[in-house]
């Protein structure tokens, strides 16, 4: 029998959402949250990340390559679906739909976010409290941040729920339901952290 690699790459796609992207998301949110304690603490935390050893290798293999792979392959996966939300307006189907929608929106957000922060470093800017607060001073950009953060936390927490199904951990209906409540908890908590962080810059 001919063997294609679809299974392998789909599982890599599934895993990459948690490791490393999900883990990075949590670290990123943790650092953002320090803005709640003031400008100085935030600049210190951001500076610490800047001084990590093997910074470029970490950025490349932990952030950029996994994100590009997950995002681009994800768009191909999303393209397979033909939605009929008016006929099948069920809870899980809405999750299915929003998982695809949020993935595409967050991908666009991340491109803009990387351009306005990390890429600007090459043009002589410094990533610090002042940079972010100048960005969110524009209400349009602040709104974009709020949408981007919410889409990211939804995509991550719903992805966790479906990942448990994809790998065969939650098989029974009641375990899937428990995982759903867990995912809702993760979503509420992470969105809260994200909102506290972004409004600390306003």
């Amino acid at each position: 029998m001919s063997r294609d690699r679809a299974f392998f790459w789909r599982r890599v796609h599934s895993l990459s959402g948690l490791i490393p992207i999900g883990v990075f998301l949590l670290v990123h949110f943790g650092i953002n949250y320090t803005a709640f304690y003031g400008e100085e603490v935030y600049n210190q935390a951001a500076g610490l990340m800047d001084q990590l050893p093997f910074k470029y290798a970490l950025e490349l293999f932990v952030i950029f390559i996994p994100l590009l792979f997950h995002g681009i392959y994800g768009i191909f996966i999303a393209r397979e679906a033909k939605m009929k939300m008016s006929v099948y307006s069920y809870e899980k189907n809405w999750y299915f739909y929003f998982q695809r929608l949020s993935g595409i929106l967050v991908f666009i957000f991340i491109i803009w976010h990387v351009w306005t922060t990390r890429v600007q470093v090459f043009f002589g800017a410094e990533v610090n409290f002042q940079m972010v607060s100048e960005l969110v001073a524009n209400p349009f950009f602040l709104l974009f941040y709020i949408i981007g953060i919410t889409m990211a936390t939804f995509h991550f927490s719903n992805g966790l729920r479906t990942m448990l199904i994809t790998w065969g951990l939650t098989v029974s209906e009641h375990s899937q339901k428990a995982a759903k409540y867990g995912a809702i908890g993760v979503f509420v908590l992470l969105t809260g952290v994200g909102m506290v962080a972004i409004f600390a810059f306003v």
């Binding site: 063997r3 599982r11 679906a81 939605m83 189907n93 994809t166 065969g168």
Partner: protein, 249 residues
């Protein structure tokens, strides 16, 4: 006293596989406890449209009339249903009837469900019992397993899960929920188990298990209440273990 009520039907029609689709409206005399099949039979008896024009009777398929054969699948007010078990009394009027969109239409409401049967063949949804001599009785099955396996065996390949699944379409080639659930059924059977690895190898190809996006529509559409999403999650577990064993030995 005669009941003068009429039921308004709008039916999507097609004269042949490559003809254009058109709509015709019918007014059918009401009877209590009517289902879609009895309504269609009324049209066959008296094939006149709402405007009094004579027309060809609407063609459809049905066999058992008790929701066991899976032949009378169609869209009733947009939802995939078995026509025989859909009560007219419970529907909003006008009642819109159309063929399923996930399969090629042969004529009017008749669809060709060939891709479902091809799916079953791809995944070897059978038990190999043939030998050149009497192989004797197979191993026994535990009662508690038989009980849930029986639920999966109720699948009548009606195609409603294909219709409801957002990932069954011409863009994906996904083999669909029903054949996957049959893999779980036959992989659990004491004799069928002997080909479990072959079935898993097959559903781990591009058109298989990984094309499921967990929308959960299939289980909502299934008229036999087969736990399709549980089946798929269980196959995910089997495939995870199988893939590790296949690579690491």
């Amino acid at each position: 006293m005669m009941d003068e009520r009429k039921i308004h039907f709008i039916i999507s029609r097609k004269n042949g596989p490559s003809s254009e689709t058109y709509e015709e409206e019918f007014l059918i005399p009401y009877r209590p406890s009517m289902n879609i099949i009895t309504a269609l039979m009324e049209i066959r008896k008296n094939p006149y449209t709402k405007d009094g024009q004579k027309t060809n009777p609407v063609e459809w398929e049905s066999v058992c009339l008790e929701e066991v054969c899976g032949a009378c699948s169609m869209l009733v007010n947009g939802k995939p249903r078995q026509a025989c078990s859909t009560q007219v009394d419970q529907l909003e009027q006008p009642v819109r009837i159309a063929p399923l969109s996930a399969f090629p239409v042969e004529r009017d409401l008749i669809i060709n469900r060939k891709k479902m049967f091809e799916g079953l063949r791809k995944v070897k949804a059978w038990i190999e019992v043939d030998g050149t001599y009497d192989l004797g009785p197979g191993p026994r099955m535990a009662e508690k397993d038989r009980r849930w396996a029986y639920e999966l065996s109720k699948c009548m390949t009606c195609g409603l899960c294909f219709e409801a699944c957002p990932n069954v379409n011409d863009r994906s080639g996904f083999i669909g929920p029903a054949p996957l659930s049959q893999v779980r059924l036959f992989n659990n059977h004491p004799t069928g188990k002997m080909q479990a690895h072959e079935r898993l190898d097959r559903i781990m190809l591009e058109d298989g298990l990984t094309s499921c996006g967990n929308s959960g529509n299939c289980v909502r559409a299934c008229p036999k209440e087969i736990p399709l999403t549980t089946s798929i999650a269980d196959l995910n577990r089997q495939a995870t273990i199988h893939s590790f064993k296949r690579f690491f030995g």
